[in-house]
């Protein structure tokens, strides 16, 4: 088992070596390093603390389960929608980004809210119907 682990580790390092050698052929290597580092800083110093803070507020407010799930789903949809929502500049042609994305984003958020409300209501009803023990 230990040998397998060592071999896997060595294979991983070798694959990383392939990546590094490919990167050395890239012209604007400094820019790539800045973007890679920037991604970590943006996540670790901004996004993660903000999400943790939101979690803290949520837990203090006694909310977990469905509300947390709704925020995770809505947040993920928003992240995936950001490029089509915010892309500046003219489009290459009318078949690129052809949809009304702000409208679609609101539809998605409304759908998440509706599903959450319905499932919460259904749960409460089920709990109330349960005979008191």
């Amino acid at each position: 088992m230990k040998v397998t682990r060592l071999l896997a580790g060595a294979a991983g390092a070798a694959l990383m070596g392939v990546g590094v050698s490919l990167l050395l052929d890239v012209r604007d290597l400094t820019d790539v390093v800045v973007w890679l580092g920037g991604a970590v800083v943006l996540h670790d110093a901004l996004i993660a603390p903000a999400v943790l803070l939101a979690g803290l507020v949520l837990v203090r407010g006694g909310l977990r389960g469905p509300v947390r799930a709704a925020l995770i789903v809505a947040g993920s949809l928003t992240v995936v929608a950001l490029p089509v929502l915010l892309r500046p500049g003219p489009r290459a042609n009318s078949s690129v980004l052809p949809l009304d994305y702000p409208r679609n984003w609101l539809i998605a958020l409304a759908a998440v809210a509706a599903v959450t409300a319905l499932s919460t209501a259904a749960r409460r009803r089920a709990r109330r119907r349960r005979p008191p023990s």
Partner: protein, 391 residues
């Protein structure tokens, strides 16, 4: 859940020292990390392998150029659709995974040994690359390039970096992963049992997020779900002749080529030139083939035209010859594409004159374009002016 604040230093130093944050919330544990990591690892593996396929098909190395298969005809549509879908599905998984392991960023002591330092460095590379790849890929699908470097070579190189760091990470964490693999694994049982329900609820929520981002985008390539598209950068029905376009005739600098002025030159042992009417008089074949773009969208369509194999036969091309397809376009990349003999001789490979029963729209390559099975969209050369038989 977490607290971060300054701690007063000793009077003798009078310096403000920032203490590491304290994480009191649950689920920052190895069982949650293992559960999420398995799915994230799967998504990244699919994304890497399909990306590799795409890279090899777009830029085949010499030894492979003649071996690329032309079947299955939907091959590239499937792999590139999966590439973009698995990359999008990885986004909620990645963010949840990073949330789970975030407290480890503040582990003390920060560096215990050389080995520990290398380990942390490899995790830093993994996190950087894992954030970079889906972000740049997603922006590329929206044709948004806010960075100063060239997308394709960098996205490709960093993919190797991520996959290497991922394999290394799994090797390093193997004992932890094994100890938390299932609900009854020893490591899992050592965690507070009260977290179990909360963890299942979190994992279900992340699963729902993966489902939601997939359902609202995957219709761009998996057309049965096209009515559910909310955030895909393409609608398979949107475009001239109900087919999306990447480079228009105007952008390529060709405009509307007059049919009577059009000539197709075929260079080979017996070179010849054909007019558009000559082409229309040759035996016509109809095929159903997809345009499958590297950006992930794809759409099947009916194409009518002349078999490339027939045109090559007439030029006296040897059966294993490679073929170069040259466009009349004046601007933009991919003016020239090449094909191995498997694609060139496939009966589905056409010089198409018609699309879905009508003459090609200029934006789809009027008067004639290449359409071949199992081939990236950028290599389906439009406004074809010359076919060259290569030795």
């Amino acid at each position: 859940m977490f607290r971060c604040g300054p701690a007063t230093g000793g009077m003798e130093s009078m310096k403000l020292r920032v203490s590491p944050p304290v994480f009191k919330g649950g689920l920052h544990d190895a069982r949650t990390a293992t559960s999420l990591g398995r799915w994230l690892g799967l998504a990244f593996t699919v994304c890497f392998l399909t990306g590799l396929v795409s890279h090899l098909m777009q830029h085949p190395p010499g030894w492979l150029a003649d071996g690329l298969p032309s079947r299955p005809s939907w091959g590239y549509r499937l792999t590139q659709g999966l590439h973009v879908a698995s990359g999008i599905a990885a986004i909620p998984l990645l963010l949840a995974k990073l949330w789970t392991v975030y407290p480890r960023l503040f582990a003390r002591p920060a560096l215990r040994s050389v080995r520990h330092a290398l380990e942390r460095l490899s995790v830093a590379v993994l996190v950087a690359g894992a954030l970079f790849e889906p972000a740049t890929g997603l922006l590329n699908t929206a044709q948004w390039y806010p960075w100063p470097f060239s997308f394709v070579p960098v996205h490709y190189a960093v993919a190797w970096l991520v996959v290497g760091a991922l394999v290394l990470h799994v090797a390093v964490q193997a004992p932890e992963i094994r100890a938390h693999w299932s609900r009854r694994s020893p490591g899992t049982l050592a965690l507070p049992a009260s977290d179990g329900r909360d963890r299942r609820s979190l994992l279900a929520a992340v699963g729902a997020a993966v489902g939601a981002v997939t359902l609202t985008t995957v219709g761009q390539s998996f057309t049965p779900l096209k009515d559910l598209i909310l955030f895909a950068p393409r609608d398979p029905d949107e475009g001239p002749q109900a087919l999306p376009v990447n480079r228009t005739a105007a952008a390529a600098g060709v405009g509307r080529i007059p049919g009577e002025a059009y000539r197709l030159a075929v260079d080979g042992p017996r070179p010849y030139t054909l007019t558009l009417d000559d082409l229309r008089a040759l035996p016509q074949h109809e095929v159903e083939l997809p345009i499958a773009c590297v950006e992930g969208w794809s759409r099947s369509a009916h194409w009518t035209g002349v078999r490339i194999a027939d045109l090559l036969e007439r030029a006296g091309a040897p059966p294993h010859a490679r073929v170069r397809v040259v466009s009349l376009q004046l601007r933009g990349g991919y003016r020239v594409s090449e094909m191995g003999h498997r694609h060139a001789r496939d009966p589905l490979t056409l010089l198409a004159l018609r699309l879905n029963g009508a003459e090609l729209h200029p934006d789809h390559g009027y008067p004639a374009r290449l359409i071949a099975p199992n081939r990236p969209g950028v290599l389906q050369t439009k406004w074809v002016g010359r076919l060259e038989v290569l030795s």
